[in-house]
Assembly symmetry: C2
Homo-oligomer: 271 residues x 2
């Protein structure tokens, strides 16, 4: 089975890495092809703080919040994500005996994109146009490199960067990148791990987990989703709509998080 | 032909990257298998400065100077080298059409080592014992991953990190790492590019280049070599002694630096 697993992000990466690494080891040993893709916004924010580079966010007119990535922020982003987070994941995996290979998605021409040259940002009552943001829309996903690595028995650990048409390295939302990668790989499952058990009917009640969503009904759940969860739900739905057999939004903090997600512990999105 | 190319380091990485990238493109197109391994000490120093992490050096009783890498420095090292330098090299190569893959040498269990648990450091008239240095001696080089990448038509861009037996990520001298990699790969050539034309008879006179050194005579040249050049000469000699057909210490600042080195422009070390 081909499984694309995305880990965040918001909760920091050190929380349950040994548990995840051991879990991935058992999944690889059982013959699965696993690809890991990571966020790391907490690490990016922490490094920005240390370097005195202010971390700013853009809120689109439709209410979506994203990182404002000017060139100083992109530099921080690359050092924290491709440097620190990616290396630490590879280290943890190698220590438990998984043959992990850390790459960014500009390697091997994996992610190409178009830079968003003018982004509308709501600031108070005004809408400003931002022109120096280094984020991109994916235009092509080439899976040749990760397929070559998987065929060699390696577990790719992917840092989501995009090479734009002008040669700039750009930022992309990691959930969306994971969905695009799972789609292009024709993955059996996309698993989105975070610091909640899945989509909750009532955010304050962890036992109000919504266990299954059909893509056709997904829209009706958007209202109850937080901003971060909205992105995960959209990524899960996009992947399943494009042919991934199922997507699971699940808890990354538990023992054997990926195995549990594969066993449907979390919010399962199905066709 | 299999060619391992090491670029430094000291001169910063932005100097002649487009020239190098175009050169590597032509070498790859001509059917050569190229592996790039990089230093990046100028970038490490710059990031350390920005973060307020003091960069310190150790001088061994025999006069060899090396970076003192405590855990705060290692963090800086990883972010600058595996994050910034490696990603920038991959970007430049992809932009000119080379299928480059940036990895650290802990990926795929490539470099394993033994951490130096007690290092003698000369400080004034005293010799201190340093116990928290995260640098390692290479104990094994596994070329399976880079050979797999080369076989797939990729150009590996390697950041020299070592995984120590205790699971720590450690630092290693990049010239020595390049020599070990060239040896393990049974490379036809090892090319060490830096900001000088090669070994100079007289450091202040660039036209005093020593064109050829047989490994048997290498010792007699050590005296005239600067500290940085001593390391390069030792790496070149070690590689050739271990079976690499020849090593060239050459200028990275010129047009087509790798092609020129292959054509013997530089100091050529032969068996």
């Amino acid at each position: 089975m081909i499984v694309v697993i995305k880990i965040g992000g918001a909760a920091g990466i050190n929380q349950n890495l040994t548990g995840l690494a051991n879990d991935l080891k058992s999944l690889v040993d059982a013959g699965n092809q696993i690809l890991l893709i990571h966020g790391g916004s907490a690490e990016v924010d922490a490094l920005g703080e240390r370097l005195g580079v202010p971390m700013r966010y853009i809120t689109s007119p439709s209410g979506v919040r994203s990182r404002y990535t000017d060139s100083a922020t992109m530099e921080v982003f690359i050092m924290a994500m491709a440097g620190r987070v990616n290396t630490e994941l590879v280290r943890q995996l190698q220590v438990v005996g998984v043959k992990a290979v850390g790459i960014t998605a500009i390697s091997g021409g994996m992610f190409y994109g178009e830079r968003k040259t003018a982004i509308r940002s709501v600031e108070g009552s005004k809408v400003k146009l931002i022109r120096d943001d280094l984020s991109a829309t994916l235009t092509s996903v080439d899976t040749a490199l990760v397929e070559h690595l998987l065929a060699g028995g390696y577990l790719p650990v992917v840092c989501p960067l995009v090479l734009a048409q002008g040669g700039e390295v750009c930022n992309i939302d990691a959930d969306r990148a994971a969905a695009a990668l799972a789609t292009a790989l024709r993955a059996d499952q996309l698993i989105l791990l975070s610091n909640v058990p899945g989509l909750l009917e009532d955010v304050s009640n962890p036992s109000s987990l919504i266990r299954c969503i059909r893509v056709g009904e997904a829209e009706s759940y958007e209202e109850i989703a937080s901003a971060g969860m909205k992105k995960k739900l959209a990524a899960a739905v996009a992947a399943v709509r494009s042919g991934v057999k199922r997507a699971v939004i699940a808890d990354g903090r538990v023992e054997a998080p990926a195995t549990r997600a594969i066993r449907s512990e979390g919010t399962v999105v199905t066709p």
